[in-house]
């Protein structure tokens, strides 16, 4: 079973003459444990694709399946609790880490757990474990303003992992980091994908980081134009 599956996913903004197609017929599958990139220039539609998979942006056409649950088929399926699905099945990592400035590193991770109804003590324990596993045990009570870029991104990763999601979606997670920190973050993501058996889909235009991915989907002008698998380049056939 795929963790992420899209079939002819299309997103059109506006109507009639002013309609703009942001994504056209994107088809892709990501297995659990895979680290996959959506690579393309700015404005190519990769973030729109990510937000449609992330249950934020309603697709105009096509199908989206997350961890075996069909969430969209010509629009969101009626009766779905998208927030609950996001809480339980998805984890998000952002370009600018998006940590809550008034919460400590520990509390930033705890908040994701508490939103998912984990009680304070349990949440604290799980958050501490996660941060210690990411070598942030000494930074539990530090506020985001006191963390380095790499540390902040690792806290954000811990938050994304807090509810053991099947799918992690990352929007340019290395864009704000120097090469060394960026590579560390990529190595960490790769390790987590394997250890947690999670599918990680990363939007990036950062060519410095391409070697860390299992597969790379090339996105251009709203279409998936190719797939690169462990250094091999392939065409569009069979990939969407």
């Amino acid at each position: 079973m795929y963790a992420i599956e899209t079939e002819n996913l299309t997103k059109i903004y506006g109507k009639g003459d002013t309609a703009v197609t942001a994504i056209a017929n994107a088809t892709l599958q990501v297995r659990p444990g895979e680290l996959v990139a959506l690579l393309g220039p700015s404005g190519s539609g990769k973030t729109t694709l990510l937000t449609s998979i992330g249950l934020i942006n309603e697709p105009t056409h096509g199908k989206v399946v997350i961890d075996g649950v069909t969430v969209a088929d010509e629009g969101w399926l009626p009766g779905l609790d998208l927030k609950r699905l996001r809480r339980e099945k998805l984890g998000f990592i952002f370009q600018a880490h998006n940590l809550i400035p008034f919460l400590s590193a520990l509390e930033n991770v705890m908040v994701a757990l508490e939103i998912n109804n984990l009680t304070g003590k349990e949440a604290r324990g799980r958050a501490s474990e996660l941060l210690e596993a990411l070598n942030l045990g000494h930074r539990l009570n530090s506020y985001p303003s006191a963390l380095s870029g790499g540390e902040a991104q690792r806290v954000a990763i811990a938050r994304a992992l807090a509810n053991k999601p099947k799918v992690i979606l990352a929007d340019e997670p290395t864009a704000a980091l120097d090469t060394e920190n960026g590579k560390n973050v990529m190595a960490l993501l790769k390790k987590l994908a394997v250890e947690n058996h999670s599918a990680i889909l990363v939007v990036t235009h950062d060519h410095r980081m391409v070697e860390g991915f299992d597969r790379i989907f090339q996105v251009s002008d709203g279409r998936i134009t190719g797939e690169q698998r462990n250094g091999q380049e392939g065409g569009n056939d069979g990939l969407g």
């Binding site: 973030t47 990510l50 937000t51 992330g54 934020i56 942006n57 927030k83 609950r84 699905l85 996001r86 809480r87 339980e88 998805l90 984890g91 998000f92 952002f94 370009q95 600018a96 998006n98 809550i100 400035p101 008034f102 919460l103 509390e107 705890m110 908040v111 994701a112 508490e114 939103i115 998912n116 304070g120 949440a123 506020y143 938050r159 929007d171 340019e172 864009a175 704000a176």
Partner: protein, 400 residues
């Protein structure tokens, strides 16, 4: 984990300063309520301390507080004789302003029958008036010491006792003298004026061709005696015997010409409705305006703070936060700000209300009502921020 408290802790300085500002505003709102209640208490102070059932005043007047009223002192005997009246005492009131230590010194002088009604309610220090002349009991607010003298009319008066918070309906502190002294202060002319009066009356009567010189001289003496009499009072207050019917007693006195018997209930109405109604409305209007200003400030603060947190709220939404978490954060901050500001305002008034030039009366009901209003205002004010927060799209968390 309480996000509202954590956010406040992070911006503690801003939150405290805002709460202090709001607290000052709410303090003013509280003090205005207290001033209104104080006006009420002041207006009724003399009325309630006198403990009379009927105030007999000049006919067709609302005296003695709202309008001038003059009646002869000896009417007290007739009133005493009315069936159902247990006690009747004449009273004299006048507002006096003199210079003291180079500054205006204003007070409300009450003249009372030493064995009758209307004297000072309680002596805090010193003693009550024992001699018929030249002794005085003053309210604490006059800030006079025992043994101090004050020159009024033609004589000096010595302070022999200090009483509590007795003020006129205008808020001036009260002083008590014997009725005879009060009448002298109010009506007695100096010797030159008496001589002038006598000569004027004598000259007028001597010019009358219908009077013989001896008749004119006799009349001159009698008319002068009447004009020099100080036996006038502003009211005669009466206390009813147990079981006496107020309406019946009022009816009997009303049948005499020239007098109006006013019950305590009517007098209260005259004082409160007539004299302090406008002040009440004005204070009420100010309170409403200040509360509206408070609501606008809270709305603005909460809205600005929500704008500051757009990325935070979008991130919370993106990671699946329920709306109640976000609404709770904004509402709790607003309520907390209101509650803290209320506490600051209350503390401020508690520390300063004794120093206000006018009496401040803090009624528990008023304070509770204001607290409820503050809670409603905070809730309504937070809606602006909540509306904004609910409109924030989770997608706003993405991007740099």
């Amino acid at each position: 984990m309480n996000l509202a408290i954590r956010d406040i802790r992070h911006h503690l300085g801003r939150f405290i300063l805002t709460s202090i500002g709001l607290g000052l505003l709410l303090g003013v709102v509280m003090s205005m309520g207290g001033i209104y209640r104080g006006l009420f208490a002041d207006a009724l102070a003399v009325l309630s301390f006198t403990k009379a059932d009927i105030w007999v005043v000049q006919q067709d007047t609302n005296g003695p507080f709202a309008e001038s009223s003059r009646i002869p002192e000896d009417i007290k005997y007739r009133i005493k004789a009315v069936p159902g009246v247990a006690e009747a005492s004449p009273l004299s009131f006048q507002t006096i302003q003199i210079e003291r230590s180079g500054r205006p010194f204003r007070f409300f002088l009450i003249g009372y029958d030493l064995n009758g009604l209307g004297g000072p309610p309680a002596i805090i220090s010193g003693r009550g008036i024992r001699q018929k002349h030249y002794e005085m009991v003053v309210a604490q607010a006059m800030k006079m010491g025992l043994g101090e003298k004050i020159h009024l009319g033609l004589h000096d008066y010595t302070v022999v006792g200090i009483t509590g918070k007795v003020v006129s309906s205008g808020g001036d502190p009260a002083a008590y003298v014997s009725l005879a002294d009060a009448q002298d202060i109010q009506f007695k002319k100096d010797n030159d004026a008496i001589r002038n009066d006598r000569q004027r009356i004598g000259a007028t009567l001597a010019a009358s061709q219908s009077l013989s010189p001896s008749q004119a001289e006799l009349l001159t003496r009698q008319v002068a005696a009447i004009t020099q009499s100080t036996r006038t009072v502003n009211t005669v207050v009466a206390r009813l015997a147990p079981g006496a019917d107020l309406k019946e007693v009022q009816g009997r006195i009303s049948r005499w010409n020239h007098f109006r018997p006013i019950s305590v209930e009517e007098q209260t109405k005259i004082l409160t409705k007539g004299m302090i109604e406008k002040a009440r409305m004005q204070l009420g209007l100010f309170r409403v305006i200040l509360l509206v200003i408070s609501a606008v400030i809270i709305s603005l603060i909460i809205y600005t703070s929500t704008i500051d947190k757009i990325k935070v709220i979008a991130t919370l939404k993106l990671i699946g936060s329920q709306n109640r978490v976000i609404v709770g954060m904004i509402l709790q901050q607003s309520l907390l700000m209101g509650v803290i500001a209320y506490g600051i305002g209350y503390g401020l008034i508690l520390l300063t209300y004794e120093k206000f030039p006018r009496r401040i009366v803090l009624e528990p009901f008023d304070l509770q009502a204001l607290f409820a209003i503050v809670i409603v205002i905070c809730t309504v004010a937070s809606l602006v921020g909540i509306r904004k927060a609910l409109k924030i799209e989770p997608a706003e968390a993405l991007g740099g």
